[in-house]
Symmetry: C2
Amino acid sequence: MFIADIRITLKKGVADPEGKNTRKALELLGFTEVSEVKTSKFFSIHLNTADEAAARAQVEKICVALLSNPVINEYSYELRPEKGA
Amino acid sequence: MFIADIRITLKKGVADPEGKNTRKALELLGFTEVSEVKTSKFFSIHLNTADEAAARAQVEKICVALLSNPVINEYSYELRPEKGA
């Protein structure tokens, strides 16, 4: 049993309106030290796979098949064993 | 100059429809090993603050004031120095 912590980020140069608006909102709230905000999505996926290499291959496929859009996204992940499994 | 990597998760017991639908979609795509998917938001915030303690205090305030809803969210973060700063 493994848990994959997958982070889906926007590629460099892709507009991040949510990040820009968050920065503006923080500025209005008085947080003037904030120079940049970037947003990304995070997925924690539990895998019923005993083998780490198999789990890693699955996660790669999942990222490509569903979670990320190769035009605008990049993905990264960390695989960790599930506690008590 | 610090970068704060902030993760906003849903509290235990709070419904995560996006996660549930992602799990269903993965099942339909043949990824039957996936037993659970949890989603969360991720913010990378650049802070023009030289002092780490001050940066940490800022990040705490930012999480409470804007990024997280205490009714449904929990937040965690890691602070790291910005490269080349």
